[in-house]
Amino acid sequence: MSVKTLEIDGKMVTGMAGETIFSVAWEHGIHIPRLCHIGGISDVGACRLCMVEVEGQRKLQAACLTQIEEGMVVRTDTPRLKAHRKLIVELLMAERNHICAVCVANGACELQELARSMGIDHVRLRYRFPVFPVDTSNERFGMDHNRCVLCTRCVRVCDEVEGAHTWDVFGRGAGSRIISDLGEPWGASESCTGCGKCVQVCPTGALFDKGKTVAEMRKDRGFLKYIVTAREKKQWIG
């Protein structure tokens, strides 16, 4: 594999052919915001937070899905991009019922952290306050759709790492919802193995351990890297 040299935010960096702008940037300490990306599973480019400017390209590019090229000049933090990201986070905050004060993930939530890092102290849009159910039928975990941002990390980790494909997306547009199996309560799901990977990758308090109260839910996101690395190196065989 060949090495490619490119410029990100004025910094000369190198990466292997096939790597994305996102992963090369993070390797070099340039932390492009993201919500749907998590290392170890495939990328879908759904949150649009990692959009970057690439010189010579008319359109903004999703860093998590754009492969690096020799001589590329990338900017990840221009005023235009910052304004877009801020508005995206505000859109999310207004979309469902993100009330940190009563959330299990308060203090350990990626959405909350994004808002904090962008200096969002109020939302300029009208809150939608939709009515969404909470599924606590599973013995060990709960799913609160009011806090879901539809990043589909749970769908992908369940399908790609656990191999169960319990989760999927139902409906469309603002009415989209994550469902287990064919829309049965999580507790009645026959495909769910109860591994809890979905709970760990969920960026917000939408998926949580039962029994945790406000601000007690801490997620272990490092496990995924361990599993995927071990699988690739075949550490479990023989």
């Binding site: 949150c47 649009r48 999703a62 304004a83 877009h84 508005l87 995206i88 859109l91 999310l92 469309r172």
Partner: protein, 549 residues
């Protein structure tokens, strides 16, 4: 069927038709069917029997003859007379050999010399009003499948691609990507399996071009696809047609069966080495499935939502194989290009937009219906000569390109209708929907309507489109009820930019277009709604009740 058989069949059928005293063609496209065309056809058939005219007079169906506002339409082929608003009571006179009886039809006669007819140039719709879409022989008599025969016998796949490239044909789905270039990209891929896909998921509000082509001349699309299959090296084609188009689906199924039986599709086409199968895939009512990557996902049996491009379908499409996706109207142009040559085609139209474009005229216009005009015709010609003008009052705007397009105000009536010119004035060619508005239309409400459409059709995958359209719709709705202020207007502009620049697919990227173009040309109307809580068109008061439900 061999090529000789094809020519023989053509002569045979042409002679049979010429021997008839008259052929009565009833429009059997959806518009006329919905106002009773089937009953009229039945009545004419009954009269033929009653008057003992079997074998002399024949009644058959045909594709959309364009003037939908005066349907049901019936064409008398022998004397080339078109009748509108026909009722079952007219059947006897239509069938009668007696010229005096036929005079009773005079009030129903439509002047075929009117600008509506003579200003049009028909390539895609050439067979509408000539051919029965349910009879293969009719299509063959009109020269059908001879372009496929020519490609197979006289041209290499490379020459076929070259002919399409030279013709200057561009994608009729709206974006206008050069068709020949797309074919070349697929043809160059060294893959054992390739696919040809016809996008018939026409979903723009007010658009019915592809529907009319499929209903009126399904074999033309099949022939175009088979030629494409030969040119790019594919053996399998899919037509992704929306489930709402029941009649189109039925006609396609009939046409595929007929063509396969005669070896014009399937294996050993025209008794030669080439094979090409076409199957239908029926959409389940999602507008976004007209986006090519979502369409591919849907055919694969997955959730119909778009994915990031590149890779583009010519590189990695259906099941990862190189895939050629063209729109119905694009494929319908192919047989004519192959048969008559690239030079003939490229002589029609403008420097960068060749050929013709089919438009569905709707809204505040006298002649609502389906038209086909050369590229470069001005809006003024289309609306005031062919369209017959605005029935009551004054022209205000024309909306092209559906929810992805823009509103064109009066000052641009003389702009030629081609891809570049429309883009310059903030609209797009789109698939061919053309909605005309007069002074009673409120432009804020028009923007609200299209935003509501996008909001309901957003797949929900990416955040800007999923929730941005909800917020934009909410602001526009509040404008029409007098609840919005200056901050809302600023936010509307900000969201427009966000959606355009960050949405994942074309649906979200172009969703702000109706808002942006109305803001540009009708800014005063927005201000009147916000500052004075007043609607200059006097339209919103009514909408307010409905919108606050």
């Amino acid at each position: 069927m061999t090529v000789e058989d094809l020519l023989e069949k053509q002569t045979e059928e042409t002679e049979r038709q010429a021997a008839l005293e008259n052929r009565i063609l009833c429009c059997t496209a959806a518009g006329c069917v919905s106002c009773g065309a089937d009953g009229i056809r039945g009545a004419i058939a009954g009269e033929i029997k009653a008057q003992g005219r079997e074998g002399k007079v024949e009644v058959c169906g045909t594709g959309c003859m364009g003037l939908c506002s005066q349907g049901p339409l019936v064409l008398s082929a022998a004397d080339r007379k078109l009748y509108g608003n026909v009722t079952a009571a007219d059947a006897a006179a239509l069938v009668s050999p007696n010229p005096i009886d036929r005079q009773a039809l005079a009030p129903r006669e439509i002047d075929l010399g009117a600008p509506f007819f003579i200003k049009q140039t028909k390539i895609v719709l050439a067979n509408s009003g000539r051919v029965d879409p349910e009879r293969l022989d009719d299509y063959i008599a009109a020269g059908g499948y001879q372009a496929l025969a020519k490609a197979l016998n006289e041209m290499t796949p490379k020459e076929t691609v070259e002919a399409v490239r030279k013709s200057g044909l561009r994608g009729r789905g709206g974006a206008g990507y050069p068709t020949g270039l797309k074919w070349e990209l697929v043809a160059k891929q060294a893959a054992p399996v390739k696919y040809v896909v016809c996008n018939a998921d026409e979903g723009d509000p007010g658009a019915f071009m592809d529907r009319s082509v499929l209903e009126g001349d399904p074999h033309r699309v099949l022939e175009g696809m088979a030629i494409a299959g030969y040119a790019v090296g594919a053996q399998q084609g899919y037509i992704y047609v929306r489930g709402e188009y029941g009649l189109a689906i039925q006609r396609l199924q009939t046409a595929i069966k007929q063509a396969e039986r005669e070896h014009l599709l399937g294996s050993r086409i025209l008794e030669q080495g080439f094979q090409f199968r076409i199957d239908l895939r029926i959409g389940a009512g999602a507008f976004v499935c007209g986006e090519e990557t979502a369409l591919i996902a849907s055919i694969e049996g997955k959730r119909g939502q778009p994915r990031q491009r590149p890779p583009y379908p010519p590189e990695s499409g259906l099941w990862g194989a190189p895939t050629l996706i063209n729109n119905v109207e694009t494929f319908a142009n192919i047989p004519a290009i192959v048969e008559k040559g690239a030079e003939w085609f490229s002589a029609i139209g403008t420097a960068n937009s060749k050929g013709t474009k089919v438009f569905a005229l709707a809204g505040k216009i006298v002649n609502t219906g389906l038209i086909e005009v050369p590229m470069g015709a001005t809006l003024r010609e289309i609306l005031f000569e062919i369209g017959g003008g605005i029935p009551s009052g004054k022209f205000k705007a024309a909306q092209t390109g559906g929810p992805s397009g823009g509103c064109i105000p009066e000052q641009f009536l003389d702009v030629p209708v081609d891809y570049e010119s429309l883009a310059r004035i903030g609209s797009i060619m789109g698939s061919g929907g053309l909605i005309v508005m007069d002074e009673t239309s409120c432009m804020v409400d028009v923007a609200r309507f299209f935003m509501e459409f996008c909001m309901e059709e957003s797949c929900g995958k990416c955040i800007p489109c999923r929730t941005g359209t909800v917020q934009m719709y909410d602001i526009l709705r509040r404008m029409t009820t007098g609840e919005a202020d200056e901050d809302d207007l600023a936010m509307l502009k900000g969201l427009s930019e966000l959606l355009r620049e960050t949405s994942l697919c074309g649906l979200g990227q172009t969703a702000p277009n109706p808002v942006v173009s109305t803001l540009k040309y009708f800014a005063g109307e927005y201000e009147a709604h916000i500052r004075d809580h007043r609607c200059p068109a006097g339209h919103c008061g009514l909408e307010a009740k409905e919108a606050t439900r």
